[in-house]
Amino acid sequence: MTRAGSPGPWFAAPVAIFMLLCFAGPILIVTWFSLMPGRTFELTTAFTLENYVAAISDGYARPMMWSLLGAAITTIVTALLAWPSAIILHRYAGRWASLVSALIALPIFISESVRLFGMSVFMMPRGGILAGSLNAAFGIEIGSILNTWNAALVGMIYIHLPFMLFPLLLGVSLIPADRIEAARDLGANRWQVMREVELPLAAPGLMIGALLTFVLCLGANAEAAILGGRAVTVITAAIEQRFNYAQDWPMGAALTVGVIAITAAIVLPVLSRLDLNRLTKR
């Protein structure tokens, strides 16, 4: 563990080089593209900011707003769902805890498109799984929220719940039980214990979960497409349209850079405050 002449950099090198080439590199190229004149397809030194100006003036703020709003709502709702779940799993589930956690984790490994499709056949009116079963069993006719922004939100919450739950479980496991008892002993009620002790101590996990959920939602597209009936256009859909049907790479790239910038503005400050060593060590 000595500093001088540590082999650390040698071990880091292959990964770091890969990341520079395949992560930093593409970001650079996208940025370069975003500075090219509209609807061109080559990288030159004829830089222009017209795409950024257009991105702001052409109503792209609206899709961005929907994406940010969706991400915020999803983050809050998943946190509200995951918090009690994490507490129950950590403190009360006992030997069931690992089984239930595994059951909740499992779907992450089933393709997102499949699960969203399942959600859409479940929600479908008349002949859907829910509506059809209710009708066949009880003769009840129900409506549907399919093809609305709300349906897209339900889909986002569904897809991202595990991404909130697992960091939160890590966070909750960081709370020593005696601190909660101490707070109880010092007169704190349930709510005060949560606010004063549990939340601050679980904050690293909550922060990672919120960050992960928020950022993943920012890029989410399939939910609005499969469940939302494109009731609104999210930013990723707008970017894809720019690349595909509109054949305007520089503009698409400018929008991409915009999303990257917003992501970085959110992620970097939080990440710089997290102590990764402590978290991974537990």
């Binding site: 082999p7 950099p9 393709s111 498109s113 056949v121 595990p162 890029g219 991974t280």
Partner: protein
């Protein structure tokens, strides 16, 4: 005391509700695969495994699986090797610049995947690489390698380096130390890394969509067939794909177990 029992029931109910929320769509997929019409009217008039027959006899199903498998295996091999090296740098040694390395390393995890996929596609075309399953594997690596590195790092952090020094002191060579002390202890971490790498690659959609070119992996096919032109073939292939990945994981687990028993 009675209040405690109510609370307990409430907790069980809550967890049951969460599990239902998570599994209802998956059960719905299975139910949908048992129809023979694409204009589903549940409950089905005819319950049939027809779609599974079609899926299993179709070459496309095999092709989708072989492409997904090629990508996932490449990702597993590369991410495990690079990830183990990365984890050593991440957790085992204390060196100047380690904090920066750690932050840079986890950054891609917190990056919108579709944006990453698009950026990679632009780069591939800009430097003239034709998209194929190989570029898709490369794209997967950008997101999966950091996760695998973190997973292996967790194991390294819980590992007392003094053991290696003790082995040295007892006369082991560098190689012997790695083989006899280091590897056996971080092996569970590497195995979890393999598991994560495989499953995350197998199910990845947003990166594959942009970077797989003419080689269509399973999730991309499922997405394009869900988004356009649905038929019961789609859920049946989805179920088959999920079962296959589960079998691979269970198979790998059994192999590992058998390997340990033999030793």
């Amino acid at each position: 005391m009675r209040q405690g029992r109510h609370l307990g029931a409430l907790r069980t109910l809550w967890i049951a509700a969460i599990l239902a929320f998570v599994y209802i769509p998956i059960v719905s997929v299975v139910l949908a695969s048992l129809a023979n019409t694409r204009y589903m009217r549940f409950p089905h008039r005819v319950w049939t495994l027809e779609a599974y027959g079609d899926a299993l006899s179709s070459f496309t199903t095999w092709q989708l699986h072989s492409i997904s498998l090629s990508i996932a295996l490449s990702v597993v091999v590369l991410s495990t090797i690079l990830g183990t090296l990365g984890a050593v740098a991440f957790a085992r040694y204390n060196w100047r610049g380690r904090t920066w390395f750690q932050r840079f390393m986890v950054l891609p995890i917190f990056f919108p995947q579709p944006v990453l996929g698009l950026a990679l596609l632009l780069t591939f075309t800009a430097i003239g690489i034709q998209p194929s399953w190989k570029t898709a594997a490369l794209a997967h690596l950008v997101w999966i390698l950091p996760i695998v590195t973190l997973v292996i790092s967790v194991r390294f952090f819980g590992y007392d380096v003094a053991q290696e020094e003790a082995a040295y002191d007892l006369g082991a060579t560098h190689v012997q130390v790695v083989r006899e002390v280091t590897l056996p202890q971080i092996w569970p971490g590497i195995f979890s890394g393999v598991l994560f790498g495989f499953l995350l690659s197998w199910s990845n959609l947003p990166l594959s969509v942009f970077t797989s070119g003419p080689d269509t992996p399973l999730p991309v096919w499922l997405f394009s067939r869900t988004a356009t032109n649905y038929s019961p073939l789609v859920p049946s292939v989805a179920v088959i794909g999920t079962v296959v990945s589960a079998l691979i994981v269970v198979g790998a687990g059994l192999l590992l177990w058998a390997g340990r028993r033999l030793r």
